[in-house]
Symmetry: C2
Subunit: 422 residues, 2 copies
């Protein structure tokens, strides 16, 4: 370690302090963790002036740097947005403590009583871009599940994140917990991210990236520790032959247009050949009336005028008011399209046919499958998780919205009275 760079030495020190803090958090009582969460909301309120003034500095720098309007909007905090952040923390503080909960329990013929008990994962590494609210949300969710967290935000939001984390650390200290349970990486050097992806000498148990596709792709390809993430959400809404017309229109419009920039927004509409002539016109008109551009295959274009969809369109997460439209020959073709082009994120079937719904829900291999409900429900808050640190499309441990429970692992607790193994 003597020949490690100063940055690496600094990062390893952050990791060791996080590991030590995570042990203290795991050993702390539920009451102590609750007190710290309540204190976080109070300290964020008390620090609102300093957070908003730090944020104003970030916003001013972003303006000088000529960053675009959407970026600056994501970066900007105001009293209303800060209130929403504090409310989010209060919701997380009110969640039941997942740590120590017994999720299964059984007794063996030899009398051994085995319980599966939730425990914190340990240390979370969070890599995010410009939204300063991530520091508060992620810090509170990590603490709810008894984990320490190392935050590495974009340099554009550095002052905002630092001000928020200062309030979080003050809250930890006020509850008698180690401040190092929530740390922010002080260096703007991109190599710091590389060190986190290498795991800081075993100090990081899980990496969670929040940001654009290029950030997530880098994390997924370079990380030597497990990652909870989704690279993209190429979500589908499938209008089955037995769909109700009003639901088909309402769900498609909401799934595509409620917010076009979220990962649960529908990007491709699949519609059964049997009902395309009768239903597609009203769906298409409702979408175009709200400013959505359509790109269809030949059959869709024969029914309604729209642009030509290329092979690329079926794989594209637009995150914009654009929808690709394909006419399919029944449920098998719809499921095959989703298996071939989808991202295993969130897919919906609209139908009044219960058997078709069951087939779709069973066979589509995505983190979230819905029947007669908008794909925009892909969200930890909407699932009742009280918040989310991200959405995962991987197959292990966490899938879909990642809330406090998903930030725990478990151990088996075995109680005997002297049993030995034959």
């Amino acid at each position: 370690m003597d020949d490690a760079s100063p940055l690496l030495r600094q990062m390893l020190d952050i990791g060791q302090r996080a590991r030590a803090a995570s042990r203290a958090l795991a050993d702390a009582s539920s009451a102590t963790r609750n007190a710290a969460l309540t204190a976080i909301a109070q300290e964020l309120r008390a620090a609102s002036d300093s957070i908003l003034s730090a944020n104003a500095q970030d916003v001013a720098r972003a303006g000088e740097a000529g960053l675009d309007h959407a970026f600056i909007d994501r970066l900007t905090l105001n009293a209303t947005r800060l209130d929403a952040i504090v409310s989010g923390v209060e919701i997380i503080a009110a969640l039941p403590d997942p740590v120590g909960a017994t999720t299964e329990e059984w007794t063996r013929p030899n009398g051994l009583r085995i319980a599966r008990v939730r425990t914190p994962i340990g240390v979370i590494g969070m890599i995010f871009e410009s939204r300063p609210n991530v520091a508060a949300d992620a810090g509170a969710l990590a603490l709810r599940a008894g984990n320490a967290i190392i935050l590495r935000g974009g340099s554009d939001s550095a002052a905002s994140s630092a001000a928020i984390v200062a309030a979080l650390r003050k809250a930890l200290a006020s509850a008698g917990l180690p401040e190092d349970a929530i740390q922010v990486v002080p260096s703007a050097d991109r190599a710091a991210v590389g060190h986190m992806l290498a795991g800081l000498g075993g100090a990081i148990d899980i990496i969670i990236p929040r940001g654009g596709k290029s950030l997530v792709a880098r994390v997924q390809s370079e990380a030597h520790v497990p990652v909870f993430a989704h690279l993209e959400g190429v979500c589908h809404t499938y209008i089955h032959a037995d769909a109700g017309a009003a639901k088909a229109v309402a769900i498609t419009v909401n799934a595509k247009l409620r917010r076009v920039s979220v990962c649960g927004a529908t990007e491709t509409l699949l519609i059964d050949r049997a009902v395309a002539p009768s239903l597609l016109p009203s769906i298409a008109e409702a979408l175009t009336a709200e400013g959505c551009a359509l790109r269809g295959d030949a059959e869709a274009r024969a029914i309604m005028p729209m642009a030509d969809a290329t092979e690329d369109d079926w794989r594209t997460e637009y995150l914009a008011p654009i929808l690709s439209v394909r006419v399919v020959d029944g449920i098998d073709a719809a499921i095959a399209h989703i298996a071939h082009y989808g991202s295993q994120h969130t897919e919906c079937i609209v139908t009044e046919n219960a058997s078709a719904a069951d087939t779709f829900l069973r066979r589509v291999d995505s983190a979230i499958v819905l029947h007669n409900a908008s794909t925009q429900f892909a969200d930890g808050g909407e699932f009742g998780f009280g918040g989310e640190i991200g959405i995962a499309t991987g197959r292990l441990h966490a899938r879909g919205p990642v809330g406090a429970e998903q930030l725990t692992t478990f151990k088996y607790v075995v109680r005997g009275d002297g049993q030995v193994r034959p």
Copy 2:
């Protein structure tokens, strides 16, 4: 792909066939998967002559190559051992099908009904050494959970594994399932393992190594896909001040000596200073009477004659009739020793004090923690899992014994009646 090596092309083809087979398995009915599992037991019985004769070839080659007795013993099959393999498959066939089971269900205020439903992980890559039973156990457990599996055994057991897998594939075909759900890598080239660790172009979801520490260490350091494994089991038995004397002796002797070569064998005995003078002599005598060598710290040696334990001993998984012994100053010191030197595998406290037991079970951060029961219960069969494909000490998804349920993931199934998101 045109410039890929012939081996890589072959491995990628194996991966693609496994992925396609895994989809067929996931879509198949529970009755079909059950039929295949029952057929596996039948086909293994029917093929017993050819399996034993293939095994005799492997054993003869190992003898010619001068491999040691323990190795040849692990490699050797006979009628009794083959019977045990078939019985193991029958137990797995009788397990409830985990696929499709709903593990949680709730309704949101807006009427959405959300269920968490078990689904297969997908494709398992299994890398093992000489024990030919692994092919049958792992193939059956993977199938029980609806997964395809790619088996890569040691070249020493190649003929045995090939004969076993031939029977397994025949059983799959007889149930109308794709034979490629269970494949064996035909190449003895070690580069094949490297290709599996790289994930075969995304075709492998999880790698499970079974074998010695060097195999597991290579897999853990080189894998680009998640791994379920334990590098070693440095397990502890802790004799608390309020331990019952008879239980302390019986549990320690069983935990150390029942089988010294298993990962759940105790390697270090921790004993409270308050009871070391009274209890250590009888424990030590019972162990040495059965041929166990002791290595103690100064305090232990002052009570009973034994060899000197070095710092290395506290970190060593002996897998042999050797036990390190340390006198500790109470439960905090015992927990601190385990946190510092342990491998987060399996630890036991022997005590009649319920509050001390609770403290130990809560604070020790291992996959399995036991009160008044032998560490040798660290086993999927003993947990009631009907078998295990391995034991995991990682923190995500699976910890402790990995059985059929642990080889599933889940999806969220959301049922609505037209809900859109405000």
